[in-house]
């Protein structure tokens, strides 16, 4: 393991969470690594304290096959991560709904980790220090989510000279420039612009755009790092991302013409103040401000469907860490988050779709249309405290988080003419204890476990008096894990983690034929997911690096107390990922093999003829009682490193996705009268070639 020094002067083994202070000391760099490589190197995949967290360095992660040079995409290869449907960019962690997982950059929440296609992350990987994934049972310092947790840490900027980084490939182009303005001030700006949509249009089948969305995307970041005093720094950062997608299907029958126009964007500006005191205590304060925007306008013939969300986001994270006893480290923090969202929606109740909706690909939404505009405000203040208590071989990390929610909506009942609206306001408090423990049985074997309670506020889009329910409260969950780590050799380890997640008060559609007024959604959903994940990891050894991850799980939902239990829409009982890389001189060869069970689907067992619309409509069988075909994919990556002078290099790479050209089934499609079923296949083979210049 590579040692990592921290400003507090303590030595920790690489891969453990940087719990105290922030890294300042420059690490010795491998000869082939340029100066832009992060200063603190946390090598390889390694579980952190509670066993559920996996953290990788961005420098290592971007070189894994299947990532197309994007370190954040390595998350898809980790244990506990379900495969997202092609083009969705969703994160399915331990059977949790994608919208239940939270993503943070330096402690600042962002709304989406990947651009709409899932092909690229929304943050330039060259600005990242590390990528961290916790599928569940995380500590008290984070909350407002009942799923998993993804944390991205931006890196310290280079302390010497100016640097330029260019990356151009089939998917997109990116540039990063960093410079030292003075002894105390450094800055970096990055920009990425996607063109895969145009590439696919030029070289692929015309129906690609009808079946799968490849949006036009771009993102940008800027960071200024100011060294204030000894062991004290201030960062100012800007994050921005945007996606646009337009699809139109023309038809001689206007009732069959379809169009979809979506756009989403977010911006974040934050300060990050960090200071390490002489006694090794530290403080970190991150105030932030941002905007989220998401628009969807669709037309199914004459039926419109639109949702426009614009949200002002703001927050503050502050944490103080101190060793209060030789064996006890304490963290006290406050996590504040605010959202003020203005929304308008029109069209069918069933667009956008929700988890649990029963439909088939391409099915038009119901005829029922309505309209609403509303404002939703959610304030969350969450003080928390955690301890890390070392008792011989046992480390206990109890924590407590108190989530206080103020939830307001501008309209409690549907609008009637110009009658002034009556708003809705509610205060909710959730007490959320968390506990993690590690017990070192021997120098090679460690047991670990964690558990906790979690909650999340309702989504602003669900608080409409017409399309949702203004009085919805938080959803809640309890997580538990238990596992074991075995260091087989100094570089080879094995980990097994069992997990259980129970969900309650989930927001679901009211299935009643006639719901109550302003009550289209109810908090009656329950669910659970459980399983075991296995990870065998080879840390760098004679240039070889890789892991084998296998997760077996089951995820179920029950929408109402009287409803039958059903499989979760994203349930994938078996997910296997094998990743291996070998460095040989200036060459690196990588391979990735993925297998995932097909996701559940509801079969069509008959059809009826809708005379009004002159079309057949499906009659469904048991909810989610069928599955899509299993998914297999083999990817290969080859890269060649060319040194340019003393500090520059050129990296040329080719990545072949789905080398065996297997046409994986991504969705079922039916004939017009529902008598035939076929499979929509994803991209059978995609070659990504690119070059990366670092100066």
């Amino acid at each position: 393991m590579s040692p990592v020094f921290h400003s507090a002067g303590r030595l920790r083994t690489a891969g453990l969470v940087l719990a105290t202070g922030f890294a300042r000391a420059a690490r010795a760099q491998a000869p082939t690594e340029p100066s832009l490589v992060p200063e603190v190197v946390v090598s390889g995949v390694r579980p952190a304290r509670d066993g559920a967290e996996v953290k990788l360095t961005a420098a290592r992660a971007r070189r894994e096959p299947g990532t197309q040079g994007d370190p954040v995409k390595v998350i898809e290869n980790l244990a506990g991560v379900g495969r997202a449907a092609f083009g969705s960019g969703q994160l399915v962690l331990w059977g949790a709904a994608p919208e239940d997982t939270r993503v943070f950059v330096d402690g600042v929440q962002i709304p989406q980790l990947f651009h709409g296609s899932g092909i690229r992350s929304t943050i330039n990987g060259d600005l990242l220090q590390s990528v961290s994934l916790t599928p569940g049972a995380y500590g008290a310092d984070y909350g407002r989510g009942i799923g998993g947790l993804v944390r991205l840490e931006t890196r310290d900027l280079p302390r010497d000279g100016s640097h330029v980084l260019l990356d151009v490939n089939t998917l997109d182009g990116a540039a990063l420039v960093s410079a030292v303005l003075s002894e105390r001030v450094r800055f970096a700006v990055a920009l990425r612009y996607g063109w895969l949509d145009r590439v696919l249009t030029a070289v692929s089948a015309p129906d690609v755009g009808e079946s799968f969305a490849v949006p036009h995307y771009r993102d940008y970041q800027a960071k200024v790092q100011i060294a204030l005093r000894e062991r004290e720094s201030l960062d100012l950062a800007l994050l921005g991302s945007g996606d646009d997608l337009t699809r139109t299907v023309h038809d001689s029958d206007p009732a069959l013409a379809r169009s979809l126009c979506t756009s989403s964007s977010f911006q974040r500006v934050y300060l990050r103040y960090r200071r390490v005191f002489e006694d090794a205590a530290s403080v970190e304060v991150v105030p932030w401000l941002g905007r989220d925007s998401k628009r969807m306008n669709a037309n199914f013939g004459a039926n419109p469907a639109g949702l426009d969300q614009r949200a002002l986001r703001f927050g503050l994270r502050a944490e103080y860490r101190s060793r209060i006893l030789p064996s006890v480290t304490m963290r006290l923090g406050m996590d504040f988050d605010g959202t003020q969202a203005d929304l308008s929606r029109a069209g069918s109740l069933l667009i956008p779709a929700r988890e649990g909706d029963v439909s088939v690909f391409g099915q038009p939404p119901g005829d029922d249309t309505n309209s609403d505009t509303w404002r939703a405000t959610a304030l969350n203040l969450a003080p928390y405290a955690t301890l890390d208590w070392n008792i011989g071989p046992l480390t206990l990390s109890p924590g407590l988080r108190i989530d206080g929610y103020l939830l307001e909506t501008s309209r409690k009942t549907p609008r009637v003419g110009q009658t002034p609206s009556i708003g809705q306001s509610a205060l909710e408090a959730e007490l959320e204890p968390r506990l993690a423990a590690r017990f070192r049985l021997s120098s090679r074997v460690t047991l670990f476990g964690s558990m906790g309670l979690y909650s999340q506020p309702p989504a602003p889009a669900d608080l409409s008096a017409v399309f949702g329910t203004p009085t919805l409260g938080p959803e809640s969950a309890s997580h538990a894990t238990l596992g074991e780590s075995i260091e087989v050799t100094s570089t080879l380890s094995a980990h097994v983690t069992g997990f259980y997640r129970s969900l309650s008060e989930l927001t679901v559609r009211d299935p009643a034929p006639t719901p109550h007024l302003a009550n289209s959604l109810v908090s009656s959903g329950e669910g659970r997911s459980y399983g075991v994940q296995f990870l065998v990891r080879q840390r760098p050894w004679h240039g070889f690096f890789g892991w084998l991850a296998y997760t077996v799980s089951r995820s179920e939902r029950q929408d109402t107390p009287n409803a039958n239990e059903r499989l979760f829409d994203y349930d994938q009982p078996n997910v296997v990922t094998f990743v291996a890389s070998k460095e040989q001189a200036n060459w690196t060869f990588g391979v990735r093999l993925r297998y995932a069970s097909g996701m559940p689907r509801t079969p069509v067992i008959a059809a009826l003829f809708d005379e009004k619309h002159d079309r057949y409509e499906p009659v469904f069988g048991s909810h989610n009682s069928d599955r899509l075909p299993d998914f297999w994919q083999l990817d290969v990556r080859v890269e060649r490193n060319f040194l340019l002078g003393r500090s520059g290099r050129l990296l040329a790479y080719v990545e072949l996705l789905d080398l065996t050209n297997r046409a994986n089934g991504e969705e079922y499609a039916y004939s017009a009268d529902y008598t035939q079923r076929g499979v929509i296949t994803g991209l059978p083979f995609l070659g990504v070639a690119g070059a990366r210049l670092e100066l």
């Binding site: 799968f212 004459a302 119901g366 309505n370 007024l517």
Partner: protein, 298 residues
């Protein structure tokens, strides 16, 4: 599917299955449309329903269809136009048997399927994009999937302020069925005799309708909370027992002022009889239909 290589990129496209189906070809008896008089009924009043049943000449004439009103409201969570309960007999109210029946539209239609609620505190049903509410009427034809006609019912406005509801009541004119004008058929720009069509010929078919049948109507816009005026769109469904139609449906959008719609039928390469069924629908649920015999000669 088209594929080509550009530079170092090779991408074969995602692919939808090709079912090789002809939606316009009638191969078994089926209900194509239902015409009701009046086209928009007041609940509780007698209404005449006429089924437009198609069967290819090669199969025996179908038995009389059986009609039933479905009395189960559709949950808002269902994409289909009717509740799954409409497939069960317990939710059905017998309405008659025959190709044409007369039955009163259920008096509870506006409560079950319209904006009226049985008790305060419940959500009124949402109208369709034309502001309409519909009573489902099931038509069972032996050997065919169950068909559902949606009978537009006149319910007024309940979720609007009283003054707007009153104004709407005065301005709204119930829907009338449209009327198909005689079919125009040509081959290579010349009038075609449908009783003597050359084998393999491409027959251009054009249907039209009177301007008065494209009605403008009062519409309560829930976004504006005001009454606006909309114009009907028109759809034409085409069916044939032999040969091939270029498209199964065509039409004119709400803002399209053209009063006709066309299609092309490619006659079979062998002589024989064929049947052409045409259904004209307006966007408020009005229907007209016509049937034409086609004779193909070598």
């Amino acid at each position: 599917m088209r594929a080509s290589a550009v530079l170092l990129t090779l991408a074969l496209g995602a692919c939808r299955p090709d079912f090789n189906e002809d939606e316009a070809l009638v191969t078994a008896p089926r209900v194509l449309a239902v015409k009701s008089e009046p086209a928009e009924a007041t609940p509780g009043t007698p209404t005449t329903f006429t089924g437009f049943v198609a069967a290819p000449p090669s199969v025996p004439s179908p038995a009389s269809p059986v009609w039933s009103f479905c009395m189960a409201p559709k949950p808002p969570t269902v994409d289909n136009v009717v509740s799954p309960a409409c497939l069960d007999s317990v939710s059905l109210l017998p309405a008659g048997e025959g190709f044409t029946i007369m039955a009163p539209t259920p008096s509870a239609a506006c409560t079950l399927f319209g904006p009226n609620v049985a008790a305060s505190g419940f959500r009124p049903r949402d109208p369709d994009v034309t502001g309409g509410y519909f009573q489902p009427l099931r038509v069972d034809l032996t050997g065919a999937d169950p068909a559902f006609h949606l009978q537009r019912v006149q319910c007024g406005l309940s979720a609007a302020p009283a003054d707007i509801a009153s104004e709407f009541g005065h301005e709204y004119v119930p829907n009338d069925n449209p009327h198909l004008a005689p079919l125009i058929s040509t081959i290579a720009g010349h009038d075609a005799d449908l009783s003597q069509i050359p084998a393999g010929a491409q027959v251009e078919l054009t249907v039209s309708w009177p301007a008065a049948d494209v009605e403008s109507y009062a519409y309560f816009d829930p976004a504006l909370q005001a009454i606006t005026t909309r114009r009907e769109s028109m759809r034409v469904a085409w069916y044939v027992s032999a040969g091939k139609l270029r498209t199964q449906s065509s039409g004119r959008a709400e803002g399209d002022l053209v009063l006709s719609s066309g299609n092309v039928w490619t006659a079979p390469n062998s002589s024989g009889s064929a049947t052409l069924w045409i259904v004209l629908r307006d966007s408020r649920g009005g229907v007209d239909f016509a049937v034409h015999q086609l004779e193909v000669a070598r």
